[in-house]
Symmetry: D2
Subunit: 289 residues, 4 copies
């Protein structure tokens, strides 16, 4: 099992000066055991380290990819791993993350365990948004957390229809509408009032942002249903957002179709990984108050 | 297919005088086409109709069971159908129900369709609560909507621990804690702030009632996880409630184990059944305001 | 009392063709009884009616101002009435409004009552936002509903500090932060989870939009407290919005100070005005479900 | 100013063995400076200390009352201080309280300050519930936090009407309905989703518990409005609860009238008292997550 991960691809956030020393230490720890290739998310390179490679090359060459940063870094890395079948480990440079669940403080210890085959494997699914105009595909985009249709301007409202397998779910007015995976359920959707969904679930949640219909509630649906969203006649312009990264303008001729992407992402966790423990720590669930 | 349902078992709520005439009409419509046996939920009988039979006999003798009342009547009927493998149709005497989705106004038309084999079949799962003392089984109870651990008195608080497959989810203080099926997600759990879960999902939601920890949020879990709830040391007395029907006193020596019951319930729906349409009607989701 | 309102200023929304006939009828009803001057919110004029006057002239010349449209039209009109001490009546061209509470269907009847002195008077307060840079006043703006500090882009987050009379309330992360009057409490703040505040209250509510701190809750404060909001160091850019109408860019050198404006607005209501009846109708509070 | 507080009345919770030593230390600190009388909430006495006096005698004899326990102890003490005009200071034996805001760790230091006249004074109002049958007064009860009408049994529903100054607010179904003061807004009402109300406000909030009407929202009203609650015909039995302490059975012949009690309670705070700081500490509002 040990030889499984001969080359490790390191995706790093190198825009924060205070992390540079830590990155060097991580590379040094890795170099003692495996081959390392590196991709700098913020371009350039770190003095004294190897030059960066394009992320596609990193994914191709690596047996295991490690993202070094926070949940945002892991999210960026995940999008590069679509279809690659390469496993991903998230190492946290700052505060504990929902996804980047290996603390930098325990890194060496956990790395040894993982290289020796002591880890658990978790499959998480992506969703794919097919953006259509007059029924023709304009583009497809993949998201790990969520796809959001929202107003063209902050504090504006859209009116939209959401369908599941062709059946109308509802027509509503809100600032926006979130379609979230279980992975995304602890991200933006949680602030919008959505439920937490266990990562092993094959479900999607539909969560409105500031709904005008006060009786609206989040709905959890099977992930094999096809969700479609279109803007109502009264709303001429909206936007579509994928994992908070990119947006496209949407009008009444457009429709976005959202479905589970067939190829999952493989996340690695240390053997003592406890999902609920992370929930409790991140959400400040404790009884002493 | 028509001969499939030769005997129909009718479970009726006969405590409301104004429903008696409707019950007679339903029996008359049925009698023209099939054999009918009847169970009166409120005891006694209806003048001019056949005498009632015990619900066990009804279930044994019927090819199809029809509950005539509202969602509460269907809930009572469902509990009698556990392990029977007999299909259930819910007919509504009053306002549209989430479960009793055939209006009395359309009854004859829908009945004809169903007797001719035009219906859709939906499987819904029960949950079973195993009540334990010092690790020994005290009793088991089955619920269709939800199992709730709550304070011994109204407006009191309990402190409890919830586990999933042996892992602590959280220790919290609240008026109570709801474990709900997708079926129950539009019942009490919805008032408590829980998400709506599509009935085809194999999920459970954990929904606190008036949680003291303000950062608490509902969690959706796979239905094949085993949920366990026990009271914390600081809480000496609580109660367990199954579908709002029966309660048992719980103390620190008890623990309730909740898991999906292996045998599902078979619900019949008319062919034009539309789950989301019922949601919209019941929850007043429309855009004209 | 009748001569009190000799000249009525009509502020109309004339962008919807289907309203033109109604506007003509309203003018005709008014012309039989009083002098009329008119301001067209969408410019131009209505064929066959008098030409429009600038809104300042209308306010100066009118004894009573009537806004003809919806809550949005009344909001625009209210902003023109600041410091004028002229009373305002809201007439609704479409669906019942929280503010525009005279239905066009009852207009003539209510008008007669109001001209004969049968009406109730309600004072509602504005809030004033003083936008400061390095402690110096950049601009002041008045709002009737709410002042909102929010992220520069949709779906982005800001981190901010809110102070009350110089004391820190909290430092939080959210999509934005609403400071709402009782009037605004049934507008955007309600979608954000804020409480309804009775219009006679001298209170402000602080309502976060999609707060990251899950234990955040809306706070109601006395309207004579001075609220100040500044962006935390981690957020370089935000925006300030007044009644959803205008926005200004905010950075770390800015601070917005929000306080009750000394001169209130005078709203007229028909004598049978019932605030709670409007709440029930607008929010679909009825027991039949 | 110093001589103002010559006799201090100490109300203590003496049911927890671990607090006995602390109580003795507090008495010793007090005895060095002032006369002390004591009331034991749990009966009996503490070995080595003076015997207890009835709470009425304590209130009569004391110039300042100190409650030693938590928020619950202060609540009990407050109810004994109605009409007395005696100031109250809350000292906390355990976790920081919303009301008992002097930590036992700082007690001596704060006591010295208070005896030397360095404190701030805050007035908080009580509410009075007048319980009526067929229009005649059955009893009156005073509450500091809240008055709640709720179902006779846990997990049951009531249907009720709420009126403000005789106008119907709404008819709803819920587990119960809370009428809370600003003081109570951080107690039970907060778990029910109510807003936080600044203690200087003269407001009441109406907060439903698990409302069936999903579009229901908390309403904040002026404290000089008279709130009345009665049960709808469909609900035959409910209960009324005052500060969680005592309950009375309510039926369709009853009506509860709730209004601000004319005599306020005088709370003392140390000079560095900061209401928002307590909110932040109790509600875990910090930005580091």
């Amino acid at each position: 099992m040990q030889e499984k991960f001969k080359t490790i691809g390191l995706v790093v956030r190198n825009d924060v000066q205070s992390h540079i020393e830590t990155i060097k230490q991580v590379v040094s720890i890795l170099n003692n055991r495996v081959d390392v290739i590196i991709h700098y998310l913020d371009g350039g390179a770190v003095d004294g380290l190897m030059p960066g490679v394009p992320v596609e090359n990193l994914v191709k060459g690596a047996d295991l990819v490690i993202s070094l940063g926070g949940d945002g870094t892991l999210l960026s890395t995940a999008s590069a791993l679509v279809d690659s079948n390469k496993p991903l480990l998230g190492v946290n440079l700052g505060r504990l993350g929902f996804l980047a669940d290996v603390s930098i403080l325990d890194f060496e210890q956990h790395l040894v365990g993982i290289l020796e085959g002591r880890f658990s494997v978790e499959k998480r699914f992506f969703i794919e948004g097919t953006f259509m105009k007059h029924g023709k595909v304009v583009s497809t985009n993949i998201a790990f957390n969520d796809i959001i249709v929202h107003a063209h301007q902050a504090l504006s409202m859209i009116e939209y229809e959401v369908f599941s397998n062709g059946d109308l779910i509802h027509q509503q007015r809100a600032d926006g509408i979130i379609v979230t995976t279980p992975t995304g359920s602890t991200a933006y959707a949680l602030s919008g009032g959505g439920p937490i969904m266990h990562p092993s679930l094959e479900t999607l949640a539909i969560v409105p942002i500031c709904p005008h219909t006060l009786s609206n509630r989040p709905i959890v649906l099977p992930a094999d249903q096809i969700i479609e969203i279109s803007l109502s006649k009264s709303t001429t312009l909206g936007k579509v957002n994928y994992d908070g990264q990119s947006t496209q303008v949407m009008d009444n001729d457009h429709r976005i179709k959202i479905q589970r992407y067939p190829q999952p992402l493989t996340l690695l966790h240390p053997q003592d990984y406890d999902y609920f423990q992370i929930l409790r720590a991140k959400l400040h669930w404790s009884t002493n108050h």
